[in-house]
């Protein structure tokens, strides 16, 4: 295996998944650092355009959670 790390763009719903990510912090759960979170008011806000744009800007994966 190479050292290659995928870049992941994440859209998290403010009301649930974003809060869950906060809680993971409070519980000091450790996880890989290679994703970046964009907070959205609802996963319903995530337009397909955003997902395509993320890939266009070099994301190797997109995670929508809500």
């Amino acid at each position: 295996m190479s050292d290659w790390e995928p870049k992941i763009t994440t859209f998290l719903c403010h009301w649930c998944s974003y809060g869950a990510a906060d809680l993971a912090g409070v519980s000091r759960l450790q996880y890989p650092h290679n994703f970046r979170v964009i907070r959205v008011p609802c996963s319903g806000r995530v337009s397909p355009k955003f997902i395509l744009a993320a890939f266009r800007h070099g994301a190797d994966g997109v995670w929508v959670s809500g």
Partner: protein, 908 residues
């Protein structure tokens, strides 16, 4: 008496350093003592306020006089060993008791072997085992050897429905449902074929949508075994649990389980019994706070209210409902004092920044060592200063502290900043604080962005400080890119019409109207029939024995004579326009009513049976008809030789797969009444499960003591009612005798279920939803039981689900309580984060209108843009669903604009 926590709450930032350094491990009561925590602790990760405290009985310093590690390591100096118990005196006009319950402790009962067998746990312990923050981090393993259990059994009614061992004659109301839930979650959890079996007496899934869940559990392969286990044995080597029971055919079965869960019931803790004495409130024989059917949240002492399990075992929705109901009671007492203790806040005038080039200030928080210990904050700060439009970047030890806030406001003014980024903890808790600082500095609160470099960065990447620093830089860059595109947003104020509409003049509707009126609001009460009273007009007695008719006529006359209540009988709604605070409702007589809120209390009705000879033989009646006979003092009832009640008529059948909740109690009560009328009457109750939940169980016991015979039948083998040469014959297969029996009754009472009114039209008018069974759907089944998703509309009574009088009343009061939270404000603020339509781009496809859960979009009705979409900001919740779905790009979400999110994506 306020106990000392030995922590200065204003200084503690819940960084957790103290607990990390504390050398003393103690049992964790939150995890039912199955896991460990430190002597300095927070109860659980979601605790509010998130502040630590020291357990004095365990702390080494308090016990041995040395250690003080927490004090040494606390970055904010929050430890205070000198903290003292404090006597607090509060002046209050009303008191609400929501002290809850404790679970039954089975350790003294040898039958369950709870204390001696490791793999016998209580249901609450099992909840913790399933939890991600539990003792096994959410892995489903058993306590003795941490192996994944292949076979788990649940034992129902431990500490409930039992007078031999625990003196709790009542049913704890919630255990059947939670056992089914635990079994379902366990099945989902296990990636193998887990064998889950529930041993029960009667399956009491009587709540809204509960019966469907029970049916689904059966489909998922959960075994429901109707049996009472008499002994549990442990295999001394494997620690497995062997059980023996008699199955439904009476044959002895032996099974071995890896784990047994005891479904423990609820009880009032002994110390609460003492508190009740101090407060001078009455308790019933089961040590629950005594309340009445018509006053479900009032204790025996005026001004003291009760909600939740202290007044009897109940589930979350009922507890939440009662909480609002108790608040309505307290609000009624205190309504004259409303707004007398408020202070007005001075807000500086907002600076107009439109057209200005962005001047961004970035404030980075070290959060003591929480962020600063991992992320290289100075390098993030220096990096931030190089970003486009950034005018100023700084860092501080605690950006949220009072002095940092003052400094921030000063800097905003000095540097002429017009956009602000804070990189710190989570916006979920701290965004409002920083926004307030912006407002104090004369900026609009929406030219702000917060990014989370603590909870979602330093705390979760402890082992790679470099990568955490790189991530923090990325997050700051993304936030800066977004904030430069943020615009000041306006929050509009809407007046709330102070009048209320109540739809439905049954008990729930009348109580709602009366409660609103008592709080000083004007009410329009609309009833579709010619008289008030609803279904209660047909009832003889409550399960507690109150005379319904006398209480009902008191209520009707107090409503009819109330000057604040305008009653419209024989009236229906034909149209509803408007939104929260400003509804305009048209009635069928063309009258138009304007109101700020609405309570829907349209009730339900009795199912008219077409089975069991109903309508073909006058000796077959429904239980409401029997009540009518009781009310009329019908002499025939005294001469009845054999009476048969048939339960679940029209309920729990494939066409109507829900339980009507009230029928078991109703039939048991009527059976007792028949026995009271004439002890020689033979009374048979044919049932599937007797669901006399809570303290109603005591009626069931009374009925059996009086000689009422209960015979169980199954859905597959329903009773057969025939007319044979003029006499009625009821045939049924007795499960215990395993053979058919025949009864020749002269009275057959059908416990016909409750069906909803035709709610479709009303639902459309107010944009509400109904469930598959036709009952209205609340905003959240557990936490918002009387709210609708549509703001300003509330729900009460049987329109929600079949329920007894006390629950309808509690719900009506709760609905009013929720409504008053809107009415009392007189104005509603509409958030700035709402969708906006550009009519020029709109193609009128109506996707936004169809998709919006809050009915915010509509077509413009007149003017140059007729037929194009517009968004009502008062209804919009800012979810952005419409924006993402708009094919024409005509919609945008302010505060989460497409350009703003794209800017963040660009910067990743």
């Amino acid at each position: 008496m306020k106990h000392p926590r030995f922590i200065d709450m204003s200084k503690c930032i819940a960084c957790g350093t103290c607990a990390e350094k504390c050398p003393k491990k103690v049992d964790d009561p939150f995890n039912e003592n199955m896991g460990k925590r430190k002597a300095i602790y927070v109860d659980y990760a979601q605790a509010v306020p998130l502040k630590y405290s020291i357990n004095k009985d365990e702390c080494l310093y308090f016990k041995k006089g040395k250690c003080r590690a927490c004090e040494k390591f606390c970055p904010t100096g929050a430890i205070n060993y000198e903290d003292k118990e404090e006597k607090v005196v509060l002046q209050a006009g009303a008191v609400i008791l929501s002290t809850g319950f404790k679970t039954f402790n089975p350790s003294t009962f040898p039958t369950y072997q709870y204390a001696s067998f490791e793999n016998v746990v209580t249901s609450l312990e099992y909840e913790r085992i399933l939890s991600a923050t539990g003792p096994y981090q959410g892995h489903l393993v058993r306590p003795s050897d941490y192996k994944e259990p292949q076979k788990i059994g649940w034992l129902q009614c431990v500490g409930s429905r039992d007078i031999n061992r625990c003196d709790h004659p009542y049913c704890s109301s919630v255990c059947c449902m939670y056992a089914v839930k635990e079994a379902m979650i366990s099945k989902e959890h296990a990636d193998y074929d887990l064998d889950a079996a529930i041993f029960f007496m009667d399956m009491r899934t009587y709540g809204k949508d509960f019966e469907k869940y029970y049916e689904r559990a059966k489909e998922h392969g959960i075994r429901f075994v109707r049996a009472r286990l008499h002994t549990l044995e442990e295999d001394p080597e494997t620690k497995d649990i062997k059980v023996r029971y008699a199955d439904e055919k009476g044959e002895i079965q032996v099974e071995t389980f890896d784990m047994m869960v005891l479904s423990v019931g609820m009880e009032t803790p002994a110390e609460l019994v003492e508190t009740a004495k101090t407060l001078g409130i009455g308790l019933d024989t089961d040590n629950f706070a005594a309340t009445g059917v018509f006053t479900p949240v009032e204790t025996s002492r005026k001004g003291i209210y009760v909600c939740g399990a202290f007044s009897g075992p109940k589930d979350i929705p009922q507890s939440v409902t009662e909480a609002s109901s108790a608040a309505a009671g307290a609000g009624l007492l205190l309504s004259s004092a409303r707004n007398t203790l408020t202070k007005e806040k001075h807000i500086p005038e907002e600076r107009n920044i439109i057209g200005e080039r962005p001047r961004i200030g970035i404030f980075i928080c070290q959060c003591g060592i929480n962020i600063g210990g991992i992320v290289n904050v100075p390098s993030v700060r220096d990096y931030a200063a190089t970003l486009p439009y950034v005018e100023y970047a700084t860092d501080s030890l605690y950006t949220c502290s009072q002095d940092s806030q003052e400094t921030m406001a000063k800097i905003i003014n000095e540097k002429g900043l017009n956009r602000v980024v804070v990189a710190a903890c989570t916006p979920k808790t701290h965004e409002p604080l920083f926004q307030e600082t912006l407002v104090d500095a004369g900026l609009n609160k929406y030219v702000f962005e917060m990014t989370n470099i603590r909870n979602q960065c330093s705390w979760v990447h402890k082992d790679s400080p470099e990568m955490a620093t790189a991530k923090a830089k990325d997050l700051v860059r993304m936030a800066a890119a977004k904030v430069s595109l943020m615009e000041p947003l306006k929050e509009t104020e809407l007046e709330v019409d102070q009048r209320a509409l109540v739809v439905g003049g049954g008990i729930a509707g009348m109580v709602a109207a009366k409660t609103l009126s008592s709080q000083g609001y004007q009410v329009y009460l609309v009833e579709q029939t010619g008289s008030l009273g609803g279904n209660a007009l047909l009832l003889s007695k409550t399960w507690r024995g109150d005379d319904v008719q006398s209480r009902l006529s008191e209520l009707i006359s107090s409503v009819e004579s109330d000057k604040n209540i305008e009653i419209y009988k024989d009236t229906k709604l034909t149209n509803v326009e408007g939104f929260v605070g400003n509804f305009k409702t048209t009635l069928n007589d063309q009258n138009v009513i304007e109101h700020g809120i609405a309570v829907i209390a349209t009730g339900g009705k009795e199912y008219i049976p077409n089975e069991y000879l109903y309508g073909k033989d006058p000796r077959v009646v429904t239980h409401l008809e029997l009540d009518k006979m009781f009310l009329a003092g019908d002499q025939r009832l005294k001469d009845v030789k054999n009476a048969v009640f048939i339960q679940c008529v029209g309920s729990r059948v494939p066409e109507r797969p829900y339980c009507s909740r009230v029928c078991c109690t109703h039939s048991v009560k009527s059976a007792i009444n028949l026995k009271e009328n004439n002890p020689d009457t033979n009374v048979y109750v044919l049932y599937r499960d007797i669901r006399t939940y809570g303290q109603r169980e005591e009626l069931y016991k009374e009925a059996r003591n009086r000689g009422v015979i209960f015979i169980r039948y199954s859905l597959e083998e329903r009773p057969v009612v025939e007319n044979i040469n003029g006499r009625i014959s009821v045939r049924i297969k007795d499960h215990i005798l395993q053979q058919g029996i025949a009864i020749d009754p002269d009275l057959v009472v059908l416990a016909s279920g409750i069906i909803p009114q035709d709610n479709e039209a009303l639902a459309q008018m107010f944009k509400l939803s109904v469930n598959e069974d036709g009952f209205f759907m609340e905003a959240h089944a557990k936490l918002r039981p009387v709210d609708f998703a549509t703001e300003g509309v509330f729900l009460a009574g049987m329109a929600h689900y079949p329920k007894p009088i006390e629950e309808s009343i509690a719900q009506a009061q709760a609905a009013v309580s929720r409504a008053v939270t809107l009415l009392a404000r007189k104005k509603v603020m509409v958030s700035g984060t709402v969708a906006q339509a550009n009519p020029v781009m709109c193609s009128s496809c109506s996707v936004c209108i169809d998709i919006c859960p809050y009915s915010a979009p509509s077509f413009i009705k007149q003017g140059p843009f007729t037929g194009k979409a517009e968004i009502n900001p008062a209804l919009c919740k800012g979810c952005g669903l419409c924006v993402a779905s708009c094919r024409s790009g005509a919609l945008n979400l302010k505060g989460f604009g497409t350009d703003q999110i794209m800017a963040m994506i660009n910067e990743i």
